[in-house]
């Protein structure tokens, strides 16, 4: 555990708890980097030191990401079970997804993770313009991802592959009716009972990518806020926890996407 717990007391030095109405000079630790007695303005009152504050919020962020993993975990469990039961339907469903767009999205997100990591480095090394640039690039890449997702979703909507909204089975009962996809995969027509299960595939597709997109939108919103603040000079005077923790969140979203891409787009590819 960290330093502020280890100092004092365990060696058996006894010390009376102080009655509350006596003012005693607190034996505070030195704030990092500041060579003065006062605490930095961003140090909240219930923390003993800047390291404690940063460490605490970082730990909290990791825990939050753990909860997000459990949240997506429910969807991954459903995916696991239904892909196992209805493999053929899932393969047919995944053929409806455009691997080019999916790969592009993956590249976009990985680049955005890179720019985000660069942004964190800029914040830590106090480069204001570098930070702003990296945040803006991440923002744009994030929007790019959403844009590509919009294209993909509108394709699905056009083809009536959205569960619950006049879901159409003809692409699976008669794959030849869908020339672009038929050219690539030459799928055989599916029997009705297997074709019905493609609706489950698309339910999971929209649920998983939709939940992911929602997290992206929230992330992009926070990015916008951070760009605004970074231009005003925030995050570069030693208090980088917000950017660091957001960086963790952004990387997490990226990793979730990589799993989604593999599971949803690449089912029958070896």
């Amino acid at each position: 555990m960290r330093g502020w717990n280890a100092r004092a007391g365990i060696t058996g030095e006894k010390r009376r708890p102080v009655p509350n109405n006596q003012a005693i000079v607190p034996a505070a630790s030195e704030p990092a980097g500041a060579g003065h007695n006062e605490h930095p303005s961003y140090l909240l009152h219930h923390f003993q030191s800047v390291e404690q504050q940063a460490d605490t919020s970082n730990f909290a962020m990791w825990l939050f990401l753990l909860t997000e993993m459990m949240f997506f975990g429910g969807l991954f469990t459903a995916y696991l079970i239904y892909r196992n039961w209805y493999y053929l339907a899932f393969v047919a469903g995944s053929h409806q997804l455009n691997v080019v767009w999916g790969t592009l999205n993956t590249v976009v997100l990985i680049c955005s993770s890179f720019t985000m990591a660069m942004g964190v480095w800029c914040a830590e090394t106090r480069r204001r313009s570098g930070l702003v640039l990296c945040l803006i690039l991440t923002f744009i890449l994030g929007l790019g991802f959403l844009g590509i997702k919009t294209i993909e979703y509108s394709e699905k909507i056009e083809k009536h592959h959205v569960p619950g909204f006049h879901y159409n089975l003809s692409s699976f009962l008669d794959p030849a009716s869908d020339p672009e996809i038929f050219k690539e995969y030459h799928d055989k027509p599916l029997p009705l009972d297997i074709a019905r299960h493609t609706e489950l595939y698309f339910s999971l597709y929209f649920l998983m990518t939709g939940m992911h997109a929602l997290h992206m939108i929230i992330g992009i919103g926070i990015l916008g806020f951070m760009i605004f603040r970074a231009r005003a000079g925030a995050y570069i005077s030693g208090h980088v926890t917000f950017v660091e923790n957001f960086g963790l969140y952004w990387h997490f979203i990226d990793i979730v996407w990589i799993y989604l891409f593999a599971l949803l787009y690449l089912i029958s590819r070896h």
Binding site: Y86, L88, L190, P191, L192, D193, I194, R196
Partner: protein, 363 residues
């Protein structure tokens, strides 16, 4: 006592004499379960008594007045080990005992007679293979193993017979089974115990256990005239199943005679036993349950057939010991065997029924 008005007094009297404290034991498994209960109640009582006695005696011996200075005791590994290992041992005994009973309840003997139960909001439909249909009532003979095959038409229900100590969920989309052997003739409660909507409390009925003679009498008095298998034969013809499953050498579908209970290899290489669940799946979701060597051309009948219809078909298939009855259906269906059989024609002419009743289907 005389001071209390007789009007008020009748209630406590009625309650004292009428209310039960323990359910009747009316099946072979009931005494075994009660034995387990008594063991667990005994162990719990002993545990509770130990704890309560300790607390009471320590409270008396060591209350502040008597024992003003507490003695700081850190702990004792020995005690921790003792009160970990002894409960663990007792719990493991209970686990094994309970597991044995669980296996017994859900593993029917080979000679169990089968009765189908379809649950729906808010009634139980009980289908006997001989063609007796009951609603919210179940007649069974004493001394005979009875297996129930349950399914629900809509939501989860649970078929519970407290006197037999059996209970099983009726699930939409899948068969579940439970078996029992009733011992004592009488009428017992039947409850639905899985909350299923507005009239959940109304989904109750009677389980009537009869002596074998009374049961035979009941069977013959209550039959609808058509056994489930005969019903199934009619459906088999009207849905044109025999278009492909016609026992001819060049048939598009496998021969169904004696298929029930056999080991089948599916087209994906899996080997399964053709039980009721498989038969149901192969009617409603055939494409993933195709027998090896056959093309996946069987259409799905989901949405075109009720759960009772599926049960009837399964009974028909279960009783197929030879190709004879399949051949009979070929005589009654309108469509020639060469057609795909995709669209099931309308219900059959009376001629089909006459053919179907020729010769009872063997049990």
């Amino acid at each position: 006592m005389n001071h209390i008005s007789p009007v008020i007094w009748q209630f406590p009297v009625k309650w004292m004499t009428n209310f039960p404290l323990f359910p009747p034991e009316a099946s072979t498994i009931a005494p075994q379960m009660d034995a387990l209960l008594f063991f667990m109640v005994l162990v719990s009582l002993i545990g509770l008594t130990v704890v309560v006695l300790l607390i009471i005696s320590f409270s008396i011996l060591y209350n502040k007045k008597r024992h003003p200075v507490a003695e700081q005791i850190e702990g004792s590994i020995l005690l921790e080990a003792t009160w970990t290992i002894i409960p663990l041992g007792l719990f493991l005994v209970m686990f094994v005992w309970g597991a044995v009973i669980y296996f017994r309840v859900f593993t029917p003997p080979a000679n169990a007679m089968n009765i189908y139960v379809v649950g729906k909001q808010w009634m139980w439909k009980i289908e006997h293979p001989g063609g007796q249909h009951e609603i919210n009532a179940l007649h069974v003979p004493a001394g005979r193993a009875v297996q129930l095959t349950l399914i629900s038409q809509d939501v989860f229900h649970s078929f519970s017979i407290p006197a037999f100590r059996v209970k099983r969920e009726a699930i939409p989309g899948r068969y579940t089974t439970v078996w029992f052997e009733a011992t004592t003739p009488g009428t017992y409660h039947l409850f639905c115990t899985q909350y299923c909507g507005t009239n959940h409390s109304q989904m109750i009925g009677d389980v009537v256990v009869q002596t074998p003679e009374d049961y035979r009498k009941w069977l013959s008095n209550s039959t609808s005239g058509v056994s489930l298998a005969q019903d199934g034969e009619r459906l088999f013809a009207s849905l044109s199943c025999s278009a492909c499953h016609n026992a001819r050498p060049n048939a598009r579908g496998p021969n169904l005679a004696n298929v029930y209970g056999s080991r089948l290899t599916l087209s994906n290489g899996q080997t399964i036993t053709a039980d009721e669940a498989y038969l149901r799946q192969s009617i409603l979701n055939p494409s993933q349950h195709i027998t090896q060597g056959y093309a996946p051309i069987m259409p799905t009948y989901q949405g075109q057939i009720s759960e009772e219809g599926v049960i009837a078909l399964i009974e028909f298939i279960k009783n197929l010991n030879s190709d004879y009855r399949i051949q009979q259906t070929l005589n009654t269906t309108d469509l020639p065997p060469e057609s795909e059989g995709k669209t099931p024609p309308a219900a059959q002419a009376p001629a089909a029924k006459a053919h179907a009743t020729q010769g009872r289907v063997k049990k």
